[in-house]
Amino acid sequence: MSEPSFSTSRRRLLGGATALGAGLAMPAILRAQEPAKPAELIVRAWGGVWVDSLKKGVSDPFTAKTGIAIRHDLTEDNEIKPRIWAAVAQGRTPPIHVNWDTTANATSSALRGVCEDLSDLPNLAKVLPLAKPIGLTGVPIVNLYSYVYVLANRPEAFPGGPPTSWNVLLEPRFKGRIALYNDGIGFHPVAQVVGGGKVSDIPGNMEACWAFIRKLKEQKPLLGEDPDFTNWFQKGEIDVACTISSNAREAKAKGVNVAWTVPKEGAKVDTDGMWIPKGLPANELYWAKRYIDFALSTEAQQVWLDGLGLPGVAPGLKPPADLVGDPSYPTSEKDYERLILIAPKIQAEHTAEWFARFKEIMQS
């Protein structure tokens, strides 16, 4: 690390000064040595409600505080990845400064060694331990919030009350009217449980999971990505889906009648994070770190994550009014007990294998 203001001793100093407040409240002496500000930083983001809330909660306030403009790059997370990897391999400046990414996807970049270490971010000391990824050296990724893959449904299709088990996906009346992610992500641990297997057998023995997914294939599911779920609910294409709660909430915000539950078998919980690719000029790296540090602050997370309806890692966040007590917005230890967390490293190491199995079932 060549950044003078991020040396270990100073970080300790800052760590002791947590009471100073959130965000960019850095001691004046450090601000005096700030490296030159770039005109803008490029932050990769997902479109729609995702980028809108990021802009409102993080980017715009960051610009107001620092004068650095933020440009959002809406390239998909997995489409930016090979571009960053190629840039690092060829010794070029990467195409973005900050990558907002799923932790599992980011972990593959961390394992490849293309991420800058973020262990010296001042706010890291104040947030939930969840913010630091497990099983990786240093802090190549900072986790910012968690989200749950819920069972989203149209209440009209369930006159007898909301579904309580993932088994409803197999009901004949929903043939052709169910949806999953097109790589099966978010569904494997649930399928393992519903199929009669044990979570602790992942990744060693997942036959229960594959058997359940084979049965699901008979139901002719639609396979898509985040925006598809919102669209499909909106256009009446599906009745039930396994998707991130934000997509269901977004459809609801657009006036579509959608509800969601965490069934009795539990649901998968995951995190999203941010990371910085290697190869940036020193001053841009410094300001990219400041951006992520700000994204960790309570001030930024309160606004940003209200938009997404997701529980952040900063201390003292208030859940949005419509999500108080909602199982997709876990806050207490008890809430988390119903959720299944698979370590990102295990996910990253087995993504390709699980993907191959899932595709084999779904494409044949």
């Binding site: 998909e76 997995n78 489409e79 990845k81 090979p82 990897w85 593959s108 970049s109 394992l111 490849r112 060694g113 052709g176 097109n182 790589d183 002719k220 599911p221 639609l222 396979l223 898509g224 256009k235 009446g236 294409e237 990253a348 190491e349 087995h350 993504t351 390709a352 294998e353 993907f355 191959a356 595709k359 084999e360 779904m362 494409q363 044949s364």
Partner: protein, 324 residues
């Protein structure tokens, strides 16, 4: 002079003497340079003309070499780096993978069907376009042919989502007569339909010049000799249109085989083609080794299909037969 007579009339408005003299002088200089070209190197001229195109396509060869190298290395998912050692493991895995077989078969069947439908539909369109006496109809057909090129594949696929959805136009219309709603989207036939609609302008564009080159007198002659409509079409027009038909088939077949967007948008996730598999390997699972292997198999497949078409029709079928 025959040469001057061949000039476009528009140039006649230029100031006469000096301009011509200058242009003649430049031409003379060029001729002088050309005259120095050694006679025995005459054969090099054709290669010189071909060289720029060979170089442009050559930019792809770099990628093919990189992919060939990557396809022979195995991805280590603990470090997400390709291994140092060469092996055929990726290809072995590929041919033992059910998803590969399914998508391979699906892509090939689509290639065959889409090509057939496109030729069947493009022929009457191109025929009407080149034979109609009405200038207005011809103009409408031409504009209708060129405009879709401007509307990219993504937007067009999106239009179909709006038309064919559960609450789309077609289902609304069916609802009026008490039918449906039906699932019209997200199936193999939908993907094929979207592809035919997308490829049709390409096919017409390839076919039209060939039909235009067939003198109408020949058709009339066949008719006056007593040939029926069908016979004239089958025995006279179709054989003479062969270069255009082959060109159209080549374009549609190779582009369909490697298509990505239509299966991705209209397929609902369960109707992938090989290119979608390549996309998944490069982007989703970051397995550049397996992705390269699929991409190369796909390239080989496309080249084989094109080679078979060309071989069946004769290398000269496209008109690229070489007169000298």
């Amino acid at each position: 002079m025959a040469i001057r007579g061949g000039r476009p009339a528009a140039r006649a408005g230029r100031p006469p003497a000096t301009a011509y003299r200058l242009s003649w002088r430049i031409l003379d200089a060029l001729e002088a340079v050309a005259a120095r070209w050694p006679a025995r190197a005459e054969g090099a001229v054709k290669w010189l003309l071909l060289a720029p195109a060979l170089a442009v396509v050559g930019l792809l060869v770099f990628g093919l070499v990189v992919m060939a190298d990557a396809s022979l290395r195995v991805m280590d998912f603990r470090t997400y780096q390709l291994g140092e050692d060469y092996s055929t493991a990726n290809y072995v895995r590929l041919f033992g993978w059910g998803a590969f077989h399914a998508t391979l078969w699906r892509s090939l069947v689509a290639t065959l069907l889409v090509t057939l439908f496109c030729l069947l539909l493009a022929f009457p369109y191109a025929y009407a376009l080149t034979r109609t006496a009405s200038a207005r109809l011809r103009r409408v057909l031409l504009v209708g042919l060129f405009l879709p090129f401007f509307v990219g594949q993504v937007v067009r696929a999106y239009g179909w989502l709006v038309i064919l959805g559960q609450q789309g136009l077609v289902n609304q219309a069916l609802g009026l007569v008490g039918l449906g709603p039906y699932r019209l989207l997200f199936s193999y036939p939908t993907v094929l339909f979207g592809l035919v609609q997308y490829m049709l302008p390409f096919a017409v564009l390839m076919l039209a010049p060939a039909l235009a080159a067939i003198p109408e007198e020949i058709e009339r002659a066949a008719a006056s000799c007593g040939a029926s409509r069908g016979r004239t079409l089958l025995r006279v027009v179709l054989p003479m249109a062969r270069p255009g038909l082959i060109a159209a088939a080549l374009v549609v077949a190779t582009l369909t085989l490697t298509d990505f967007a239509m299966p991705a948008i209209l397929g609902g996730g369960t109707n992938d083609f090989l290119a979608n598999l390549v996309h998944d390997q490069f982007f989703r699972t970051s397995n550049a080794g397996l992705g390269s292997a699929i991409a190369l198999v796909l390239t080989l497949l496309g080249t084989t299909v094109a080679g078979l078409l060309l071989a069946a029709a004769g290398v000269g079928a496209l008109g690229l037969r070489g007169a000298r």
